[in-house]
Point group: C2
Chain length 400, copies 2
């Protein structure tokens, strides 16, 4: 057990300072002191050390608060150049890679349109290695400038040990993927469920910046869930995070990849939509090429009734799952995101209706449901963020 010694005290105050700078952008020392209740003297000492380490830097000098007189405030901000990290996102169809700075800004990016799911984890690790080396070179950097790699992928992922227990991308056998990639690249690698990754990114850079607890639902090839509780990523047993896609929605319903029946995934994920479309004769049997789901979306948006019904059903299913989530856990905010929202209002409206219909009336006032559409850069931030978390991690986690 970590005891509380002066070192921890320093670490806590240091964390408060960094966190304030992160949250409230470029900010003057006096202002930090006011918000953290630390004395200006302490803030000065801490920021001096942070600057020496390169974690923060001087953004610019601005005239004082209300009055324009007096010595101008020196605004401090996170130093983008403090760390360079690589974000990797694995989906069934592609490997996305981006090199980002410490603020989540993208230095270079790369997409490998590869059907990852048919390859063994060792092969995937090889592909990731090649892609990362390429992308780092594109950014004009050497590998030794990279502080770490964050890999996000759907499935049951042990983010602490870096093991994929079950994933549509890496298969059903436990794969120590983080170690595999780390061995190849010679830098630390963190593996994380993609929804967790998004949750952390939302917490640092997105709609969760000012929140201490919220839920993120990702709608993609699978339906994922990330939870921030008490400002920290929620993990269940053994480092495995939460999952929404395999809640039983319809007992004895459609079969799902996981071997169970009636999962949300079978009704609302890309995978499930394709299965249902095949079943309904809308699509021929086939593999899961990315253009198939795109085609289905286009047909639905163009007004094809049967296709539209699928997306409406998916929206409703997600809506029920979200309302269950709200009834169960009552998070103050739920952020919906992911490529699966591409069907737009077609999916969104039945989703919101189902939420309204199934949420306990008592909870309606206290819960926000938000949509957040991301560009490609945002998941890279997410992957980058899980590296940053290592650096900035709140110290009192360590006390138990």
């Amino acid at each position: 057990m970590k005891t509380a010694d002066p070192e921890l005290m320093r670490a806590i105050n240091r964390y408060h300072v960094i966190d304030t700078i992160r949250r409230d952008g470029p900010i003057a020392r006096v202002e930090i002191a006011a918000r953290t209740d630390l004395s200006p003297a302490s803030v000065s000492a801490i920021t001096a050390q942070l600057m020496e380490e390169g974690l923060i830097d001087i953004h610019h000098v601005a005239p004082g608060g209300d009055a324009v007189r007096g010595r101008p405030r020196v605004l401090l901000g996170l130093n983008p150049a403090a760390y360079t990290v690589v974000g990797v996102k694995l989906t069934a169809f592609r490997i996305g890679i981006a090199v980002t700075d410490a603020r989540g800004g993208s230095l270079s990016s790369l997409v490998l349109p590869i059907r990852v799911a048919r390859q063994s984890p060792e092969v995937v690790a090889d592909l990731v290695e090649d892609g990362v080396r390429r992308c780092v070179a594109d950014a004009g950097l050497a590998m030794d400038r990279i502080s770490g790699v964050g890999v996000g992928l759907p499935g049951v992922i042990d983010g602490i040990d870096g093991v994929s227990h079950w994933s549509p991308v890496l298969g059903g056998t436990p794969a120590p993927f983080a170690a595999a990639v780390s061995r190849r690249l010679g830098v630390p690698v963190l593996l994380e469920n993609d929804a967790n990754l998004v949750a952390v990114a939302e917490h640092w850079f997105g709609l969760g910046r000012d929140q201490t607890a919220f839920a993120v639902v990702t709608v993609e090839n699978t339906i994922g869930l990330g939870l921030i509780v008490d400002g920290k990523l929620y993990r269940g047993a053994h480092g495995i995070g939460p999952a929404l896609g395999h809640t039983r929605l319809v007992p004895g319903g459609l079969p799902c990849r996981c071997g169970l029946r009636g999962c949300l995934d079978a009704y609302a994920s890309d995978w499930g939509l394709l299965r249902m479309a095949e079943e309904a004769g809308l699509l021929p049997q086939g593999d899961d090429a990315p253009d198939r789901i795109e085609g289905l979306v286009q047909r639905a948006l163009a007004g094809e009734v049967a296709a539209a019904a699928l997306f409406r059903g998916a929206g409703q299913a997600i809506g029920i799952a979200v309302s269950n989530l709200v009834n169960l856990l009552n998070p103050p905010r739920v952020i919906l995101t992911g490529e699966g929202l591409r069907a737009g209002p077609l999916l969104r409206e039945p989703l919101l209706e189902a939420v309204a219909e199934n949420m306990l009336p008592t909870l309606k006032d206290g819960t926000e449901i938000l949509f957040h559409s991301w560009g490609d850069e945002m998941w890279a931030r997410g992957a980058a963020t899980i590296m940053l978390r290592r650096i900035y991690e709140a110290p009192w986690n360590a006390t138990t």
Copy 2:
């Protein structure tokens, strides 16, 4: 924001010491020092203060650890007499009251067999007042010896502000019940969802003593859920805890008290069982007197097929909900408890089958499902515990 100063440091270490004493029973100072990594000097100082405050006391003197030589260890334990609190449990049929000491030991108890649900919150507060005064007198104490009252009841309860937003006991209009009782008795009153209360009690005194995260499912007049995450009670928005009873199990299924359809409560709570029994012609229409559900249990245990089917169905429904909970949140341990388990194996077996059938195979190894049957004294401990939590609360919650 609370800054980290020496005071916080002390508070953290003090908490670690108390927590170690709580967990590992009567324990010597050297042993505390070993487990907390604090120096013997610090442990000595902290325990001296705790003894002065009366929170802990000397249990007895035992010969040293392995060898019998040397100065004997002085074993320290929580002092039962440190605080006296009253636990109150409200259900639809009765008010249970117990006076307990700081270790959860019962000094006196009382059950008022009153159908609480038909009375207004103000009347219920009057009844609680009378019962508490009686029970405290029975214990041979004066009211000014009581440090506080903890009230547990089912429903959507804001445990921070002490407001019942929706409850089968206090109705659907927000009722500031904690304030109402506190005004009458002149002592602090905490209101809490009964499942939260049980979760905290399990954490302090029961099957969650050694755990830092687990879930408690209570099966009674309603199905409740309490979550301990990171050693703390999980609360959603606005102090309202989680709830399992109103997850949608069967879309468009049986109507539930909450106004929705297909809730778990409609299938597995006492309330739902009675409704289904009436529907099936097993029972005449009637109110919810406690003997009705008891009668139904007896008939089922005696072999009446239709009645038994109801309980099997309830077990299955709970099993699905629990597996959803596990698939969703993956808590390392789930503790099932409550009077609703009175049907025994009749309910338990289909429940465990449904869990086995619906849980993601990957999670099976990491999740324990336990049953914990309580006597009446245990909920009183629960109610008492929420007072204790005030006293012992982990200090680093305060830093954000």
